[in-house]
C-alpha cells in the first residue's frame, strides 16, 4: 500500500509544481492532483516572462526573490525549458514616460538590480525594429524568459511527486497533513469566498524571424494595463523566442468566461504592437490563443493558510511563472514552521478581511 502523502497539492501548474518541488526538497512526500494536463492552463497560455515588477513593495520583494531563484534553478533546467536571460527593455514613448523610466532606474539601483537607461539612439541600436521617435528605454538585463510547461514538468519530476489526474470538488475531503490550493483562475469553483476573478488574455505567435527582436519588449504603460481595473485593456509586449519566433501580447478582460478568440480585442492588441514595431505587420502569425489569469483586487497573490489544513498558493494574475518559485519558498516555510525568506503578511488572505 502506498503511504499517504504529507502534502496534497491541487493544481499542477507552475505554482503547484514549484510548491511540490520546494516541499519535496524539505523531505515531504507530495501528491499532486490535476484535472487536465500538468502545466496546461495559464502556465502554457502565458509568455513565461521572468520579470521584476515594482508597482508596490510586496510585488517588488516577491518578484526580485523569484527572479533570483529562477537564475539559480536555470543551472539545472533542461535545454528544452529554453531559459534565456534576454532582459526586459521597458519602452518610453515620450518625455513623461522617460521620466518614469528614470524613477524606475533609481528604484532598481536602490535594490541592487542591474538596470541601464537608454536614450533614443541607444534604444534604436538595441532594437532597430522599434519605430522612430520613441524617447528611450530602461534595460533590466537580469530578467529572463522560460518555456514554463517544460519547467513545470521538470519541477514535478525533481519532486518525485505522484501526479494523479482527477477533478477535486471539495478540498475538505482530501486527507493529508496539508492541502495546497494552487488552482489559479479555477479557484472560485473550490473556494467561492476568495476575491479571485478570471482575467482573460490573448497571445499571438509568429513564424521564425531570427534577430527581429532581442529583448523582451514592454511599453512602460504596461503596468497601467496590468494593474488598472478597467474592463478591457491592451499593451505592447513582445517576446523573442529562442527559435526566432515572436510572441505578441497582451490583452486583459474581466467578465468573459469563453476561451474563444475575441477578434476586436485581438485586433486592438496587434495594432498596439504594430504602433511600436511597424515591421510586425509583415510577419506571419501562425497561432493565436487565450488564457485566464487569476486576478485579485490588489494584484498580489494569495499565499498562506486559508483554514484548517488548507493553504493557498493562487491568485498570481499575470505573474505566476515569475513568482511561482518565491511563492513556494514562502508557503513551504509556513507549512514547515520555518522562517520565510521575505515577510509573508502582504500575501496572506487576511488582508482582505475587515
Amino acid at each position: 500500500m502506498t503511504p499517504s502523502p504529507d502534502v496534497i497539492i491541487v493544481g499542477a501548474g507552475i505554482v503547484g509544481a514549484a510548491c511540490a518541488y520546494e516541499l519535496a526538497q524539505a523531505g515531504a512526500r507530495v501528491e499532486v492532483l490535476e484535472s487536465g494536463i500538468a502545466g496546461g492552463g495559464a502556465t502554457a497560455a502565458g509568455m513565461g516572462h521572468l520579470v521584476v515588477l515594482d508597482d508596490n513593495e510586496p510585488e517588488l520583494a516577491l518578484t526580485k526573490l523569484s527572479v533570483s531563484l529562477w537564475h539559480e534553478l536555470a543551472k539545472t533546467l533542461p535545454a528544452a525549458a529554453e531559459f534565456w536571460r534576454c532582459g526586459t527593455l521597458w519602452i518610453a514613448a515620450d518625455a513623461v514616460e522617460l521620466a518614469g523610466a528614470k524613477a524606475k532606474l533609481d528604484m532598481y539601483t536602490r535594490h541592487g538590480l542591474a538596470a541601464e537607461l537608454l536614450d533614443e539612439r541607444q534604444l534604436y541600436e538595441a532594437e532597430p525594429q522599434l519605430r522612430a521617435g520613441l524617447a528611450g528605454g530602461l534595460l533590466a538585463a537580469n530578467d529572463a524568459v522560460v518555456y514554463a510547461p517544460v519547467a513545470t514538468r521538470f519541477l514535478l519530476e525533481q519532486a518525485k511527486a505522484r501526479v494523479t489526474r482527477t477533478t477535486v470538488a471539495n478540498l475538505d475531503e482530501l486527507k493529508s497533513g496539508a492541502v495546497v490550493c494552487a488552482t489559479g483562475s479555477l479557484t472560485p469553483a473550490l473556494i467561492p469566498e476568495l476575491p479571485i476573478r478570471p482575467r482573460k488574455g490573448h497571445l499571438a505567435i509568429t513564424d521564425r524571424y531570427p534577430g527581429f527582436a532581442r529583448h523582451q519588449l514592454v511599453e512602460l504603460g504596461y503596468l497601467q494595463s496590468a494593474h488598472g481595473e478597467s474592463g478591457e485593456s491592451v499593451a505592447f509586449n513582445v517576446q523573442p523566442r529562442p527559435t526566432g519566433q515572436l510572441l505578441i501580447g497582451s490583452s486583459r478582460q474581466y467578465g468573459v468566461d469563453t476561451a474563444s478568440i475575441d477578434a476586436p480585442i485581438l485586433s486592438r492588441m496587434l495594432e498596439r504592437a504594430f504602433g511600436y514595431m511597424p515591421g510586425l505587420r509583415d510577419c506571419r502569425v501562425v497561432r493565436t490563443w487565450t488564457g485566464f489569469r487569476a486576478s485579485t483586487p490588489d494584484k498580489l497573490p494569495l499565499i498562506g493558510k486559508w483554514r484548517g489544513n488548507i493553504y493557498l498558493a493562487t491568485g498570481h494574475e499575470g505573474l505566476g511563472v515569475t513568482t511561482s518559485l518565491g511563492t513556494a519558498k514562502i508557503l513551504a516555510a509556513e507549512i514547515l514552521g520555518r522562517p520565510s525568506p521575505i515577510p509573508p503578511a502582504p500575501y496572506r488572505v487576511e488582508r482582505f478581511h475587515d
Binding site: 513564424d207 521564425r208 524571424y209 527559435t243 509583415d282 506571419r284
Partner: protein, 78 residues
C-alpha cells in the same frame, strides 16, 4: 523563358512556373530547416502544409508552391 536567381545562381524557367517547380527542376528538394534542424521541402504543393517556405526578394516565409516566378526574382532557400 525568364530568368530568376536562386541562392545566387541564375536559372531559366518557363513563364508561369511556380517557384517550387523551378527549384524541383534544379533538383533542389531541401528548401528550409525546421526549428530542430530537420530538412523540409515541398509536400502538398497546394499551399496547405507550409513546408516549402523560402525567402523571396527579402521577404521570409513565402510559399514556393503558391508563388509564380517573375523575371529577376531573387529566391533564397535554407
Amino acid at each position: 523563358m525568364i530568368k530568376i536567381r536562386c541562392d545566387g545562381r541564375e536559372i531559366s524557367v518557363r513563364e508561369g512556373t511556380s517557384v517550387a517547380a523551378a527549384l524541383l527542376g534544379e533538383g533542389n528538394l531541401e528548401l528550409r530547416r525546421s526549428a530542430t534542424g530537420a530538412a523540409r521541402g515541398p509536400l502538398c504543393g497546394m499551399g496547405v502544409c507550409m513546408e516549402c517556405r523560402v525567402t523571396i526578394d527579402g521577404e521570409a516565409h513565402r510559399l514556393a508552391c503558391q508563388t509564380l516566378c517573375v523575371a529577376g526574382m531573387d529566391v533564397k532557400t535554407l
